[in-house]
């Protein structure tokens, strides 16, 4: 498991190659990358990402540990940037490795769903007309419900 919170840029291709080269016994690697999306009209100057040092690392470790336990993962990677990012710049990436693809896909989606609304990051869009905090989406909160354990069925 490799968890990194950093302001420095990273090379997603190089990171993915490095991750895939050292997985042990895996037959599947899935990755997702988030990049800074321009606002409609295309006048985004930058995105500023604030985080809660200390809690961020704990939350990401906790999320990744849950994924490792829930699926048959051989490894997991999370890189998340903070600070001022330009449109098109990579914000974050996750990668999962498993013997078979179903586990790798599911675990990557789980990591992303939890990262969206349980990792202490806050995004602010800086545009020509002003600054705006990005509001959390109800759909992101809703997405978590699918990972909650189903109620036990009576015998």
């Amino acid at each position: 498991m490799d968890i990194r919170v950093q302001d420095a840029a990273f090379d997603m291709g190089a990171e993915l190659n490095r991750f895939a080269a050292q997985v042990d016994g895996a037959g599947a690697v899935v990755s997702f990358s988030g990049i800074v999306r321009d606002v409609e009209g295309g006048d985004l100057h930058a995105m500023e990402i604030e985080h809660y040092p200390g809690m961020t690392e704990r939350a990401l470790n906790d999320i990744a540990t849950q994924a490792m336990q829930r699926w048959q993962l051989t490894d997991a990677l999370i890189i998340h940037r903070h600070g001022r990012l330009m449109p098109g710049a990579p914000i974050m990436m996750v990668a999962t490795a498993a013997r078979h693809r179903a586990d790798a896909f599911a675990a990557a989606e789980f990591l992303m769903d939890y990262l969206k609304s349980r990792a202490p990051f806050w995004k602010k869009e800086i545009t020509a007309t002003g600054d705006d905090w990005v509001a959390a989406r109800d759909a992101d909160e809703q997405a978590l419900t699918r990972w909650q354990a189903p109620a036990p069925t009576p015998d």
Binding site: Y52, H80, F121, K124, W133, E141
Partner: protein, 81 residues
């Protein structure tokens, strides 16, 4: 007790960090006390539904205890990823 504020809560209160003496039992009690500190605090905490809290860096509900906590943080819903 150390308090931390993030994102628009930090901006509205005007600082990301303050130390308070409190006898509040829960997060909700602590918010009620903080609202009385200044107009900026009252404004920042005016919509409780838009605020999340962490006690010693663990996300908690509003009825969670704060007695004995070292650090309590307040922030809007998170927007990671």
């Amino acid at each position: 007790m150390e308090l931390r504020y993030f994102a628009w809560l930090r901006e509205r209160i005007g600082t990301g960090h303050e130390t308070v003496e409190t006898k509040a039992a829960t997060v909700a009690d602590l918010i009620a006390e903080l609202k009385a500190r200044s107009d900026a605090h009252a404004f920042a905490f005016s919509d409780i539904g838009a605020i999340r809290a962490a006690v010693d860096q663990e996300l908690v509900e509003m009825d969670a205890p704060v007695s004995g906590a070292r650090e309590v943080a307040f922030f809007p819903p998170m927007t990671g990823g």
